[in-house]
């Protein structure tokens, strides 16, 4: 199970909770007009004690490779996040369609971006023409099942979950309806970013990439395939893909940056089974938020992203060219689709890289 807090933290939280719970009401009323808590003053404020201000607004969510605008230095707020679970046919690889199950009709599902202390009302609607019930387990949520049982929605029904984002980090969310490997295997996952108070440091470019392994049947109908349980159990995928489709980050879909810019990739791995060895050929990650958490490692070549896990990688692009994103378990990249490209344009600095004679 998820154990995001260590015992000490838990005890601290509980202590703070019990001490402050009485005083809370008075604080609440007294700080009604103040616009959130300023990043400088709140370094010591536990997320649970951060007060939200204003009415709930509908949060902007985006499909990969795009991400919503950074939270910046705004205070904690209330958000409504709308997600719809659907069962759709879409292309998985050249000319082959697959029956995907999705959040908001894309694989991965919509990117959700909030900050710690935010209060989220997540409305999960299951499309009326769905065959099955679906739900959502957000790894960013503290509480039973990450919300899975609370959000279980039969076809045509809507479920609502309220949660407070307590821990900053980049988290996977996914469907946990039975049988869960099938729901995830069909594409029911996405990322939710909980930024720390004050927001992540500014960068020039941000992108959303999520890996997943897909197990397919010999096409039942012409050009349409679906989940293959035997292959999933054997963990032998036909496809290992970024953003749910072969070539989703190739050709005209390449992500882009200019020389001198800083790039931040929010990388998740939905699985259901494989661990990713995420690497960008020809780049070194200046910063890696290991496993999407708060520990930042520097000068990393390849970072491990477990199934149901994530990483935030940052690097400055210094030299133009096409940089290849791969799962460095390379058969997956070259044979199963786990490959994408970052196109960097601008002036070449021969000091950094120069092909030729001495």
């Amino acid at each position: 199970m998820r154990n995001k807090l260590n015992i000490k933290q838990m005890k601290m939280k509980r202590l703070i909770l019990s001490v402050t719970s009485i005083g809370m009401i008075t604080i609440l009323t007294s700080c009604g007009g103040v616009a959130g808590d300023k990043p400088t003053a709140e370094n010591k404020t536990a997320a649970i004690d951060m007060k939200v201000t204003g009415e709930a607004k509908v949060a902007e969510v985006t499909s990969a490779p795009n991400v919503p605008a950074p939270v910046g230095d705004r205070g904690p707020q209330k958000w409504i996040v709308n997600l719809e679970t659907t069962e759709i046919e879409a292309e998985i690889a050249d000319g082959i369609n697959y029956t995907f199950w999705t959040f908001n009709n894309t694989v991965p599902g919509s990117f959700i971006r909030v900050r710690e202390g935010d209060e989220v009302e997540l409305r999960l609607k299951n499309a009326a023409n769905s065959v099955l019930p679906h739900n959502i387990d957000l790894h960013a949520v503290t509480g039973p099942g990450g919300g899975a049982e609370a959000t279980s929605a039969a076809p045509g029904q809507e479920a609502v979950l309220h949660f407070k984002a307590l821990n900053p980090g980049l988290y996977v969310y996914h469907c946990a309806a039975p049988p869960v490997p099938m729901h995830i295997g069909n594409g029911m996952y996405g990322l939710i970013l909980v930024e720390p108070a004050g927001g992540l440091p500014k960068v020039d470019r941000e992108y959303y990439i999520m890996q997943g392994d897909f197990y397919t049947k010999a096409a039942a109908k012409a050009g349409l395939t679906e989940f293959n349980n035997d292959k999933a159990v054997a963990e032998e995928p036909d496809y290992v893909l970024f953003n749910g489709k072969k070539g989703s980050l190739l050709g005209k879909n390449m992500i882009e940056a200019k020389v001198g810019e800083t790039v931040r990739l929010f990388v998740g791995n939905g699985g259901p089974n494989l661990t990713s060895s995420f690497h960008v050929i020809g780049e070194i990650f200046d910063n890696v938020y290991l496993e999407g958490g708060s520990t930042v490692s520097h000068n990393v070549q390849t970072t491990m992203i477990p199934a149901g896990g994530s990483a935030i990688v940052e690097f400055k692009v210094d030299y133009p060219g096409q940089y290849v994103l791969v799962d460095h378990s390379l058969s997956r990249a070259f044979n199963k689709g786990a490959i994408g490209k970052l196109k960097v344009t601008g002036e070449a600095n021969p000091l950094i890289f120069n092909k030729g004679k001495k």
């Binding site: 099955l132 019930p133 045509g156 946990a176 039975p178 099938m182």
Partner: protein, 283 residues
């Protein structure tokens, strides 16, 4: 009698009648109507199932097999036209008068009016968008009942050739294939081959209500594998678990059952009826 007294008496009578008339809603009367069910006739053939022991997919207590007594079951699901005759005989179950406590707002969603089937619906397709309460009332009006979960699952063990095909490699896969087909609920009943018992459309048209669907604690979050880790929530937690982890089709079915409430009405959910065998001759 003095005129004054007379007038007073008259007045009081008037007041009384006015009073009863003014009562916005005579509940006692409404109650009587609601409590009774007008009988309907259905011509559906019922199949005799001899029953026997079976291992529930989910909810077996201490891994014990469950004994299912003999019963009769409709060979197919209740159709649109049968449900129409039911609401015709039972006004309280019509779209415009059903209580919200008995069905959500999608009840018979696509019916243009109380006694009119959806324009493009086949009368012999299974009725959907019906709640458990409505299904139960229908069964009662037909002199039957809803099948129990055990009865339904007992039948669901069969494929075309054997009464228990669960150990067959293809069994679960074939069912999933059927489950995944969109719009399958619009097809007429009895167009595919019956199973071993002669029961039609067990998997290929709709999800079906069972009488005691609410007896499954919860696998809405399937990773608990039925063994409810959250012991706080349930009495005798841990007494239950799924018996075949690879039977994904059954996981889906049970997932569906735990995701619904009795007043829900759903696009691909209908029902069939069952009956006790007592005073019945076997067929």
């Amino acid at each position: 009698m003095k005129p004054a007294t007379y007038i007073l008496l008259l007045l009081s009578l008037l007041a009384q009648s006015a009073c009863t008339k003014e009562k916005p809603h005579d509940e006692k009367q409404g109650e009587v109507v609601r409590a009774s069910i007008g009988p309907i006739k259905t011509t559906v053939k019922m199949v005799y199932i001899p029953g026997g022991e079976y291992m529930p997919f989910y909810g077996a207590i201490d891994s014990n097999a469950v004994k299912v007594p003999a019963f009769l079951i409709d060979e197919r699901a209740v159709t649109n036209e049968e449900f129409l005759s039911f609401v015709t005989a039972n006004p309280q179950w019509r779209k415009s008068s059903i209580l919200r406590i008995h069905a959500d707002t999608n009840y018979l969603r696509d019916w243009p009016s109380d006694l009119e089937l959806p324009k493009d619906a086949r009368p012999d397709a299974p009725v959907c968008f019906v709640s458990w309460f409505a299904a139960k009332a229908f069964a009662k009006s037909a002199g039957k009942r809803l099948p129990t979960l055990d009865e339904w699952e007992f039948i669901a063990m069969a494929d075309a050739d054997t009464f228990n095909a669960r150990s067959k490699k293809q069994y679960s896969d074939a069912i999933i294939q059927l489950y995944m087909e969109k719009g399958r609920q619009f097809k007429p009943v009895k167009q595919s081959a019956p199973n071993y018992w002669g029961v039609y459309n067990v998997f290929d048209l709709i999800w079906e209500w069972t009488d005691d669907f609410n007896s499954i604690m919860s696998i809405g979050d399937s990773r608990t594998g039925g063994e409810n880790n959250n012991k706080d929530l349930f009495c005798a937690a841990g007494a239950t678990s799924a018996s075949e982890v690879n039977n994904y089709a059954a996981f889906m079915r049970f997932g569906m059952r735990t995701a619904v409430k009795a007043h829900y009405t759903i696009a691909n959910m209908g029902f069939r009826c069952a009956k006790d065998t007592s005073n019945q001759t076997t067929q």
